[in-house]
């Protein structure tokens, strides 16, 4: 039915030549879900959806408005499109054009192994691995989905792509202590399941010995890359950088970055940060955006200097900069030192309860769920509780990045970062 709805919407919109633009997007999604409690299955689900979304732009003189909706097959198409036109006509934004049509480069995002994955077998494998690691399984959740997206726009753009996604949430525990593991990848082989379980079983072994860290107004702290890009409350530790480098912040005059200027006066490592929408099997990769823009990889902070605004078609026109598309996989260049050297004398935060980061000010705060206090010889003592707070822009003035790197689906880069002056509350 959605095929017919999609075709009917395109056909009707093509007849409305007075529209400034339109885009019709169809997404077919199929997902298997498995929820287990301890060693048993609790719920098994299959989710099927086939949905058509429409955006329309209406211009009046030098103003334009945009309205979008999920089309309902149960309601009259003509009146749904008329409603969209009416909503778009109310808005008085400076005019911009939809992106010129381009041929998207194929980006590898689909792994048939995820489509074929038997989640019951996967769950059984987890039970065995957890048992071998000497801990207990609290719960496991698996989501294995495949989505196919087709986009047609008024500019003549036409494209489609297929992607897969495997998301996992495991909770391991022993006695009073647990570890929550959340991972999401587009390729099955990217999930280091055995390594994750054994690493976290080791942490659970350490937790009974954990103490609160010593409070300090300014102390060296290392943050693991786990919450660099996606956090419980948004974009993670790097979000202030992507916020200030992004088109919306620049257009709203909220950005603190100036092209060609250092983002901070750094006396430690100067960072190089890129967005790569074509990163193979990246969970943030995409061959084209919802308006048909083919995105470009861009290094927006190079050796500590802000080089380029990351902007979609609208903000690129508003700001008169090159359109890059929105962010893809964030790639942070590694440092030169071994992490084993960087940890000396610092508190290494493995996980926060939830890292809270203010994208505007750069202030961050989180309760330490698990960490290690390293002495000057590299000996580690587990810590938990207490809070870590600081400001990313201040912290970047004196930071070190290790040479060891990880791939986390939406991030590729150093395993951690060391900040010299961060507050620890006991």
């Amino acid at each position: 039915m959605s095929r017919e709805l999609q075709q009917a919407a395109i056909s009707q919109l093509k007849k409305q030549s007075d529209l400034h633009g339109w885009a019709v997007r169809r997404i077919q999604h199929k997902e298997q879900q498995f929820y287990g409690v301890a060693e048993k299955a609790d719920t098994q689900r299959q989710v099927l959806s086939d949905e058509v979304f429409v955006d329309v732009w209406v211009s009046q003189g030098q103003h334009v408005g945009l309205a979008g909706k999920l089309l309902s097959p149960e309601h009259d198409l003509e009146s749904q499109l008329a409603e969209l036109r009416a909503a778009a006509a109310l808005q008085r934004n400076p005019i911009y054009e939809l992106p010129k049509p381009a041929q998207p480069e194929p980006v590898k995002l689909f792994d048939p192994a995820i489509e074929r994955l038997d989640l019951e077998q996967q769950a059984t494998k987890v039970v065995q691995l957890v048992d071998s690691a000497g801990v207990e399984l609290s719960s496991q959740e698996w989501f294995a989905g495949v989505a196919e997206t087709e986009l047609v726009t008024s500019t003549g753009f036409s494209g489609s792509h297929k992607n897969s996604r495997l998301t996992m949430e495991l909770v391991l525990y022993r006695g009073e202590h647990e570890r929550l593991l959340e991972k999401s990848y587009r390729r099955l082989d990217d999930l280091p399941l055995e390594e994750l379980i054994s690493h976290n079983a080791k942490i659970i072994d350490d937790l009974p010995k954990a103490k609160k860290p010593q409070a300090a107004k300014a102390a060296p702290v290392i943050l693991s890359s786990e919450e660099f890009v996606s956090g419980a409350f948004g974009g993670g530790l790097l979000e202030p950088l992507t916020f200030h480098a992004g088109g919306p912040a620049a257009y709203q005059q909220l950005s603190r970055f100036k092209t060609g200027q250092p983002i901070v006066e750094a006396k430690g490592d100067r960072i190089t940060l890129s967005s790569d929408p074509s990163y193979v099997f990246g969970t943030a990769s995409y061959p084209f955006d919802n308006w048909g823009l083919v995105p470009k990889p861009v290094t927006f902070i190079n050796d500590g200097q802000f080089t380029q605004t990351v902007a979609d078609a609208k903000y690129a026109q508003y700001l008169e900069v090159e359109p890059t598309g929105g962010y893809g996989v964030l790639v942070l260049a590694p440092g030169k030192m071994a992490e084993s050297e960087l940890v000396k004398g610092a508190v290494y935060v493995e996980t926060f309860s939830a890292l809270d980061v203010d994208p505007l000010t750069g202030d961050f705060f989180g309760e330490i769920r698990v960490g290690y206090q390293y002495d000057q010889h590299g000996q580690a003592h587990p810590v938990r509780g207490g809070g870590v707070s600081g400001n990313l822009f201040d912290a970047l003035k004196d930071c070190r990045l290790p040479k060891e790197t990880v791939f986390q689906g939406n991030y590729q880069g150093p395993k951690s970062v060391r900040f010299e002056d961060v507050t620890i509350s006991g």
Partner: protein, 455 residues
């Protein structure tokens, strides 16, 4: 309204297996407007339209989720589901008493009659108030969101329908002085009429005063403090501090320490915490939950004693606990879990003035930004925008910001020695189960006094 007979036929198809079956139709639609200094948007909110067919085989729930309310498509999905499931000996679900009811949030203006122009006009008014609220404002944003959530639940005995109207609006002020930029976010949300989330000039004057007071502020020195706090503190303690502990699916997974404290003391005897989906106007409210359980209040903590957990059907069945109306799912695409609705600290006998007057040297906390639970370890983290310094029982005017609160929940709740009765209110928000599964939610209560680590 859907054809109950056809949906009941779908249930019959599911139950021909010998298991328990139910059908849940979910829908959400509405509009939102967002106005900033430079741009404005008015559009539909992300819509939901789908169904969940559930079949319990005695041990495991099997669900088919489809993006349709069409009875023919649901009948086909039911046949496909039945073909995959074999019922086994195990637990038996009571479908509840025979019941056919329909519910709807009371409103003056039907949300269906609110056009895009009405929502946009309201957001523009709020943006204008924000823009002119004070001389240091250099940028601003205002948004209004009106949504209607519909649910139809049918099993062999029940046929329930509900329409819940949720409205929320926010304003955000960006203030700037001497090269420093700070922002302050303020929101109103409720189930009810859109007029309840309108902002006045006086509201914005208060927001501006707070925004301007944040310029030049720093967090407090790390340490243990005597604290007071508004409903933003007590609500987050009720929600993050104990509410998540009380979700019994977390007990089933051995993820909540509260499992061992049912009937035992977890707080001072001044502490009373309630979850109430029926609280009039509560943004997290509803009339029945995703398992078709009619909403009623649940006393979680009474006089400091942990009384009752919050349950979804599946977990209550396995733990042999009472079912409460707390089964909620993010959308038809997700499973239902035990979730809170509107969770709050009940009023006590003190006043806000008493609480501030009783603090010799401490901080009065207001305006939470975020919070996170830790049911297994009973830790908590909350971030506040505003910490007001109190010396010798008086506010000094000095502001700390941001302020992070951490601690061990029984310590914080155990040291509650004053609870106000004169400033009850709830705040609208969104709650996740861990880091996902977001549902509309509210928390609140009254001012309290206790101790906690700040930094």
């Amino acid at each position: 309204m859907h054809d109950t007979d056809k949906l009941r036929q779908v249930v019959e198809t599911l139950e021909k297996t010998g298991g328990y079956g139910s059908v849940l139709l979910r829908g959400k639609q509405g509009r939102r407007a967002h106005v900033t200094k430079q741009e404005e948007i008015v559009t539909d909110i992300p819509e939901e339209r789908g169904a969940v067919l559930s079949l319990f085989d005695g041990q495991v729930f099997h669900e088919a989720a489809v993006d349709s309310h069409d009875a023919g498509e649901l009948a086909k999905a039911a046949k496909d589901l039945v073909a995959k499931v074999k019922v086994r000996p195990g637990l038996v679900i009571d479908p509840g008493p025979a019941m056919a009811k329909s519910f709807e949030t009371k409103v003056k203006t039907e949300p269906d009659r609110l056009g895009a122009e009405d929502i946009l006009a309201m957001a523009r008014d709020h943006a204008e108030l924000a823009k002119t609220s004070g001389p240091l404002v250099f940028n601003h944003a205002a948004a209004v969101n009106s949504s209607t959530e519909t649910m139809t639940f049918v099993n062999r005995n029940k046929a329930l329908n509900q329409k819940v109207h949720r409205v929320v609006s926010f304003v955000q002020l960006f203030v700037q002085q001497d090269g420093e930029t700070r922002d302050f976010f303020d929101s109103k949300g409720l189930t009810g009429d859109i007029s309840g989330v309108a902002w006045s000039k006086a509201d914005l004057a208060k927001s501006y005063e707070t925004a301007a007071s944040l310029l030049g502020t720093k967090p407090p020195a790390p340490g243990l403090y005597t604290i007071g706090g508004s409903s933003h503190l007590s609500g987050l303690l009720a929600h993050e501090g104990f509410g998540h502990n009380a979700e019994i699916d977390m007990m089933l997974k051995n993820r909540s320490k509260a499992k061992d404290y049912l009937g035992k003391r977890v707080a001072s005897d001044l502490v009373n915490i309630v979850d109430d989906p029926t609280l009039v106007g509560g943004y997290g409210g509803y009339f029945f939950d995703d398992d078709g359980t009619i909403a009623t209040p649940t006393t979680i903590v009474q006089d400091g004693i942990f009384k009752t957990g919050l349950a979804n059907l599946s977990s209550a069945l396995q733990l042999d606990q009472p079912v409460t109306a707390n089964s909620r799912r993010e959308s038809y695409k997700r499973k239902a879990y035990a979730r809170m609705s509107t969770t709050f600290f009940k009023p006590g006998d003190s006043t806000v003035a008493d609480i501030i007057g009783a603090i010799d040297d401490g901080i009065y906390l207001d305006r939470f930004q975020t919070g996170m639970e830790d049911p297994k370890g009973w830790g908590i983290q909350i971030k506040f925008t505003v910490g007001r310094e109190v010396k010798n029982g008086k506010l000094t005017g000095k502001i700390y910001s941001p302020v992070g609160l951490t601690g061990y929940v029984p310590d914080i709740l155990g040291k509650v020695d004053m609870v106000a009765g004169d400033d009850f209110q709830t705040e609208a928000g969104t709650c996740g189960k861990g880091h996902k599964e977001f549902v509309p939610n509210s928390s609140g209560g009254v001012s309290i006094k206790t101790e906690a680590y700040l930094g």
